[in-house]
Structure formats: structure tokens, C-alpha cells
């Protein structure tokens, strides 16, 4: 009790400490505000319901139709659903495309990001590169696919796919699709690496330069190791996008159920050949495509969803681990 120079009135029986009432009551608001409040709640509940519906429905159907045997059987063309085989080739196709796409996108994106952040002269050129990558990010994937077709049907790129008997280059193969997938993943990796590089404070670089290291050396030995996990995050985001993309696959992969080799060289022949991925398999097995195997479509969609969930989880984990090591 402090010595106060002010004579307080006879103190009223002080009430026990109570948490101050937190919020203003909605019932006192204008009707238009109450309507808006109700709308917000309605939208929130609708959002929750839609999320739950999609996740639960896909889960239920997937568990219902996904037979572990399907994961290891090759798909066959067939009329009845029981004869259409499994989804091994689409899974392998997805994996191959993702690997090719990331293998091309990550080095390109890292080099571009390093150049833009660390060098970036002349400045208009750096801005142009950044805008260009944003344009790629905003381009619909169907346009990228069509562009890929235009490029890979050039005679000069015939080795990447194969030349049909009439003389026209087919232009569709794993290599072709993978290259265009790299364009789709490129902006994501670029953005992540650029963010990582700009987050490194200037004094780290200045300390290295003050010791006499060249810029290249600083980048290679100090900066790049620090953005390793940004690269991983970007790659995981890019992988998520590649795995989920259908338009590029439908246009550039030739839409054969199984992986068809071109030529006799083992791995290169497969890469030059055509095949399918989970996304194109789902598209073809649905009533919109050729097959009419909704059960297999659900199974494949469920596997696809699991892969995407896993990649999402990996991105979250990487982000959280960085916060822990930084803090």
C-alpha cells in the first residue's frame, strides 16, 4: 500500500480480481454489422465443410478402392475394370518426370537467383530476368505445354523423342515433358533461393570479402551452404507442382498406358519414350478420358493426394526446422 497524498474516499469493498470483459457484445452492433458478422461465420463454416468433404470423400474412396497390389501391377488396356491392371507405370512415370524436372530446374534457378542477388549488373537486365520468371510463373501450364510441343517438334530435337515414319518429329517423350516441367518448377525454386539469399545479412559477405576472398568463392563456400534448406524448400514446392500438373503430361507425354521404350538403349530409350503419370492416368480413367474405370481413378487419385500431402508436410517441416535453428 503506497503512501498517497490524495485522500481517497472510504474504500468500497473491492471486488475480487476478475478478467476484464474481453469483447464488445455483438448484440449491440448495427444490423448491417451483425449481418456481416453472420456472413463471416457462414463463410468460415462453409470453408471448413468443403475442406472436410473433399478430404474425407477422397480418403474414403481411396481406401475403398486402393488395393496394395495395384501399386505394383502394370496397367493394361481393358474393358472391364478388373482387367485394367494396376498403376505401377503411372507411379514410375510421375517419379521420372519429377526427377527430370527438378534436375533441370534447381541448377538453373539457383544460378539465376545467385546472379540476380549477388551480381545483378546491369540493373535493368536483372529486373528483366526477375520479371521474366514472374511471367513464367503466371503462364498457364497448357501454354507452356504447347510451347514445349512447338520446340520439341523441331527436327533439331528429334533425338529427344522420335521421328515418325512420315518424317514428322513426334515431340512427345519423358525428356520433353520433363524439360517443360522444369519451367513450371523454376519460379518456385528461384523465389525460395532468392528469399534465402537476401535474408543473409550484408556483414556476412563483407566479412568474407574483407578477408580477400573473391565473390565467387564467397558464394560457393559461405552463401550457398546457408541457403541449402531454401533450395530444399523450393524443390519440395516445385515437386508438388510437378506431381500435380496434368496439362503438360497430356500434351507432351504421349498418353500411352505403359512406359514405351524408344530404341534399344535401356534407360535413354525409356526417357525418349512415352508413358503416363498418375495425373494423366486419373484423367484418362475418368469419364472424361478414354477409359471408364472410376475405381482405378479414385485409387490413383488417392495415391496422388498422399504424395502431395507428404511433400506439403516436408515443406512445413523444413520451414519449422529453420526457425528452430535460427532461434
Amino acid at each position: 500500500m503506497a503512501a498517497t497524498a490524495y485522500e481517497a474516499p472510504p474504500p468500497p469493498p473491492s471486488a475480487p480480481p476478475r478478467p476484464a470483459p474481453r469483447r464488445d457484445a455483438v448484440r449491440t452492433w448495427k444490423w448491417s454489422h451483425r449481418l456481416a458478422f453472420g456472413t463471416c461465420w457462414a463463410c468460415g463454416i462453409a470453408l471448413g465443410l468443403v475442406c472436410a468433404a473433399i478430404v474425407v470423400y477422397m480418403g474414403v474412396r481411396g481406401v475403398q478402392y486402393l488395393n496394395p497390389r495395384l501399386l505394383f501391377t502394370r496397367p493394361q488396356p481393358g474393358l472391364a475394370q478388373s482387367t485394367t491392371g494396376g498403376i505401377l507405370d503411372p507411379i514410375v512415370g510421375t517419379v521420372i518426370l519429377t526427377i527430370i524436372g527438378i534436375a533441370i530446374a534447381v541448377p538453373l534457378a539457383v544460378v539465376a537467383a545467385v546472379w540476380v542477388v549477388e551480381y545483378g549488373r546491369p540493373a535493368p537486365l536483372a529486373r528483366a530476368v526477375e520479371s521474366g520468371i514472374e511471367v513464367v510463373a503466371g503462364t498457364p501450364d497448357i501454354v507452356i505445354a504447347i510451347f514445349g510441343l512447338a520446340i520439341f517438334q523441331l527436327p533439331i530435337l528429334a533425338p529427344v523423342s522420335f521421328t515418325a515414319s512420315g518424317g514428322g518429329v513426334f515431340g512427345r517423350s519423358f525428356l520433353a515433358a520433363g524439360s517443360m516441367m522444369s519451367l513450371i518448377a523454376l519460379p518456385l525454386v528461384f523465389g525460395a533461393v532468392r528469399e534465402g539469399l537476401t535474408a543473409i545479412p550484408a556483414h556476412v559477405r563483407e566479412a568474407s570479402w574483407a578477408l580477400g576472398k573473391t565473390r565467387v568463392c564467397t558464394i560457393r563456400e559461405i552463401l550457398l551452404p546457408q541457403v541449402r534448406h531454401n533450395v530444399a524448400t523450393g524443390a519440395a514446392l516445385g515437386m508438388g507442382r510437378i506431381v500435380g500438373d496434368t496439362a503438360v503430361v497430356v500434351v507432351l507425354l504421349g498418353a500411352t498406358l505403359q512406359i514405351e521404350r524408344q530404341g534399344s538403349v535401356p534407360i535413354l530409350g525409356d526417357l525418349r519414350g512415352t508413358g503416363s503419370t498418375l495425373t494423366s492416368y486419373v484423367y484418362n480413367a475418368s469419364p472424361a478420358g478414354e477409359g471408364n474405370a472410376p475405381q482405378k481413378a479414385y485409387a490413383a487419385a488417392f495415391v496422388l493426394l498422399l504424395i502431395v500431402l507428404f511433400l506439403n508436410f516436408a515443406v512445413d517441416l523444413l520451414g519449422r526446422r529453420r526457425k528452430e535453428t535460427r532461434a
Binding site: C40, L108, W115, V135, I146, S286
Partner: protein, 328 residues
């Protein structure tokens, strides 16, 4: 040459080599625009630069005729009036983005301001998850669940017979396409708007509260106002995604180059359409015919120019906001 690359680089060498790779990306983009324009040239030249966007006959018939022409078609074979496709694109994109934007803003306000903590902890990861789901899954759910529901329960048999000479009403159409597209673009918009609402300087929200504004007024007059640049960015992003959505829409939109007539009343919602991107995906197999190839490249050029125009439009829309002192 590899041996020369492996030796330690000097800074000048690095500038050139790294810069060359970075410019490779620029090169790819210019190549993209050039290639698409060159391939689209025959169609544009034969049809007039913009009149091919107008109405005139059935676009499906015209495409079908193109397929039958040989390897060296005369100019007349390029005749195309793609208005139904453009109309379908504008309809689905426009309505989805509008509905989606309103829904996203209200949902974002709910998540940031009104949701109890437990609800928030569930909804936010759910939204992020939905944003990552591939579009083909949305299309699958649309065609296997929504379309049969609409076709069997919402469209009466009488309605089907009334238009069966013109179109088949089987559930896929305007309504299902708009619903699927809206559900696809909403999670991204919510994520962007929520991030922006959370980043409002607390000085503003506190100042508004101290002036006697209730929670709704604070978030609406100050929060949403401050988040306007983000809302514009979300709308542009959603528009770009909606324009380019090919696969899901080709599954649920009915796949007929048809212009629904609003005068038809409720039947309007059930009539089939086919947006540009979906048309491209469905006609890819027919691209051996040069006329079809040129048409598809013309569609691609149109989409490319639209997404460029969207980016520029978004940038211009944010300029007056920058004047007000908002961080864009």
C-alpha cells in the same frame, strides 16, 4: 572445356557465365512468345486479327472441318469463329473470381478476427492443404460426384427433353464448372489475404478500437483497406489460374463449344460450355492438321497475352494504393 570450368573462377568470369545462364531464362520466354506467334500466324492472317474471336457458326463444326483438310490447306480452311470458347472462358473465369474473392475476403476476416483459437488451428492448415491439391482431383470429384448429382437431381427430365435437339444436359455445364473453379481458386486467395490481414500494423487496429469502432468496423474499414494491395494480388493470381485451368474444366464443363443464352433462364446454368484452355487440351490429338495446329497456337497466344495483361493490370491497380501509403 570442362577442365577449364573446374579451375577456380574469377569474378569477371563468374559474372559472364552466371549471367549467361540467367539470361537463358529470358531467352526461353522470348522464344515462347515468338514460337507461339509464328505458329499462330497462318490462322490469324486468314481470319483477320480479331474477327476470329467473334461469333459465327458452330466452333466445333469448324474445328472438325479443319481436321479433315490436308497438309496444305487453303485460307478458307482456316475459317474459325471462336466466340463460344471465349464466352465460356470469360463466363467461368469472371464469375468464379468474383464469387471467390467475396468468399475469400469474408473467410479471411473470419479466420483472423472471429474464429475461436481451436477452429483457427484446424482451418488454416486445411486451407493450405487445399491449395496444394492437384486440379485433376477437383475435376475427378466434379465429374464423379457433382455432375451426376446435378444431372439426376437438379435437372428435371422435362428440362432435358426441352432442349435435347440442341444440347444434352447431363449435369456437366456452367454451374458445375463455376463451382469447381471457385473451390480451386479460393484457398490461394484466402492464404494471401490472411497473410496480409495479419501483417497490418497494430497501431492502426488499436487506433480504430480507441475511437470506438467495434471489431467488425475495425477489420473492415482499416484492415481490409490496408490489405487492398494483397486483395488485388490475390485476384490477379486467381484470374491467371482460372484462365489457364485446362484439365479440370475439360472434365466438368460439358465439352461443347456452345454459347449458353441467359434468356433461357435456369437452363442457362446447366448448358455445356468449353473454355479456351479446355479446348486446347481436347484438340491436342488433332494437331497434325495444320489448320488445327494454327488455331490451337492462336488460343495459346490469346491466353499468353491475357496473363501478361493481367500482370500489368494488377501492377497498375496497385499504383494508387501506393500513393496512399500502403506497402504494395
Amino acid at each position: 572445356m570442362l577442365a577449364r570450368l573446374r579451375q577456380p573462377w574469377t569474378d569477371r568470369q563468374a559474372t559472364w557465365r552466371l549471367g549467361a545462364v540467367a539470361c537463358l531464362v529470358l531467352l526461353l520466354i522470348t522464344l515462347m512468345v515468338v514460337f507461339v506467334t509464328v505458329r499462330a500466324w497462318p490462322m490469324l492472317r486468314a481470319n483477320g486479327w480479331v474477327s476470329w474471336l467473334g461469333p459465327g457458326g458452330s466452333v466445333d463444326d469448324q474445328l472438325g472441318r479443319m481436321i479433315k483438310t490436308g497438309q496444305d490447306p487453303p485460307d478458307a480452311a482456316y475459317h474459325l469463329r471462336a466466340w463460344p470458347l471465349v464466352y465460356g472462358t470469360l463466363l467461368t473465369t469472371g464469375v468464379s473470381v468474383l464469387i471467390g474473392l467475396v468468399f475469400s475476403v469474408f473467410s479471411a476476416i473470419f479466420i483472423v478476427e472471429f474464429a475461436p483459437a481451436r477452429v483457427r488451428a484446424v482451418v488454416v492448415p486445411a486451407v493450405r492443404l487445399l491449395a496444394a491439391v492437384p486440379s485433376v482431383i477437383y475435376g475427378l470429384v466434379g465429374i464423379l460426384v457433382l455432375a451426376p448429382f446435378v444431372g439426376n437431381h437438379l435437372i428435371s427430365p422435362g428440362r432435358k427433353t426441352s432442349v435435347q435437339n440442341v444440347v444434352q444436359l447431363d449435369g456437366t455445364g456452367v454451374l458445375v464448372a463455376i463451382v469447381v473453379l471457385t473451390v480451386m481458386i479460393v484457398p490461394i486467395m484466402i492464404a494471401i489475404v490472411v497473410d496480409a490481414l495479419r501483417a497490418i500494423p497494430p497501431a492502426w487496429t488499436e487506433g480504430a478500437a480507441a475511437l470506438g469502432a467495434n471489431r467488425w468496423e475495425t477489420i473492415w474499414t482499416v484492415g481490409v483497406r490496408a490489405a487492398r494491395p494483397a486483395i488485388v494480388a490475390a485476384a490477379v493470381l486467381a484470374c491467371a489460374r482460372a484462365l489457364g485451368e485446362a484439365v479440370a474444366l475439360s472434365m466438368v464443363s460439358g465439352s461443347r463449344g456452345f454459347s449458353p443464352n441467359p434468356v433461357d433462364g435456369v437452363t442457362y446454368l446447366f448448358e455445356p460450355i468449353r473454355p479456351l484452355a479446355a479446348s486446347m487440351v481436347e484438340n491436342v490429338d488433332a494437331m497434325n492438321a495444320p489448320a488445327v495446329k494454327s488455331s490451337i497456337y492462336a488460343f495459346a497466344l490469346l491466353l499468353l497475352l491475357s496473363s501478361l495483361a493481367l500482370s500489368i493490370g494488377g501492377y497498375l491497380a496497385k499504383l494508387p494504393l501506393r500513393r496512399q501509403g500502403l506497402r504494395v
